[in-house]
Symmetry: C3
């Protein structure tokens, strides 16, 4: 159950939001073997001045930052994460987002750190 | 010191924001024995297309996602978290949010990961 | 590569956003010895009712919350974090934000939890 928060410019969201959403979903399915119905994304369009970034940090030609923050269960080895980054960047590039502009950050949590609308009372710990 | 970020539809926020805020606070007090004056919530109302979710993942009939992201210190056992989820879902249901629509994610940090306005210089590490 | 998300009132952002951005950057450089070109900040201006907080939790006279959420690699000892908090609060105070109003939360991740626009295929795990 990865949950993805996406910070991006408002005009980029308006122009390419649907394509970006599909690209992220495709990237997670390809990179993590995530099932197709595991889809949770929150877009946060930003106005001028709200996204502040270094255009050249780590030797990358960055022009227009798109930040993906992925919260997911700690269960994937490093090479799977690496495969996920590649899949995400490739699909996002096809959706019109330069891979240099992509910044991804993974935050890992445990299985017990999620509640997803399951029955209220009588849950098994 | 749990800090809660809530992503929800703008019309839901406008209609039920105050009730949702109180429900979350009541749920944390009941579920974690949190003191009443420990209250930190950030609401993020969203417009159309910004919240993307699977309506049926995990066999739940999801219609209108309300995402709670709770950042809190790693100190609670799993059954306390489970009790917290139940308390939150129950209070949110009373505030007009179907429990099926609630998605909660806990991110745990350490005691040393907070600064809360205490004196600037001369802090003890 | 700390990445900072800042939640604050819209009028505070409009009036002092640039100064706050520079203060945060200066605080991280001073507190973590962060290189100058390591700059990633996302501002989230909020309208009335979206930021809910206790005015007196932990004995602090809080009037107008400014939340900094810093995602960074787990590599700094506790006293370095403490130095960072002091540096951030001092620089923010100079930018017109009372240190009592500052709430900082650090979320730590691993080196392998970042992708920053580097080559798409052929990454080394």
């Amino acid at each position: 159950m990865p949950m993805v928060q996406i910070d991006l410019r408002r005009d980029v969201f308006e122009e390419k939001g649907t394509a970006i959403s599909k690209a992220i979903h495709a990237g997670l399915m390809e990179g993590l073997d995530m099932p197709e119905d595991d889809l949770f994304q929150i877009f946060r369009p930003h106005d001028d001045g709200e996204i502040v970034f270094s255009p050249h940090f780590a030797g990358v030609d960055r022009r227009d930052l798109v930040l993906l923050r992925i919260t997911m269960v700690h269960m994937f080895p490093v090479d799977t994460k690496s495969r996920m980054y590649s899949a995400l960047a490739t699909h996002l590039e096809a959706a019109g987002v330069r891979h240099e502009d992509v910044l991804i950050c993974v935050v890992e949590v445990g299985f017990e750190d999620w509640y997803a609308g399951t029955p209220i009372r009588g849950e098994v710990a």
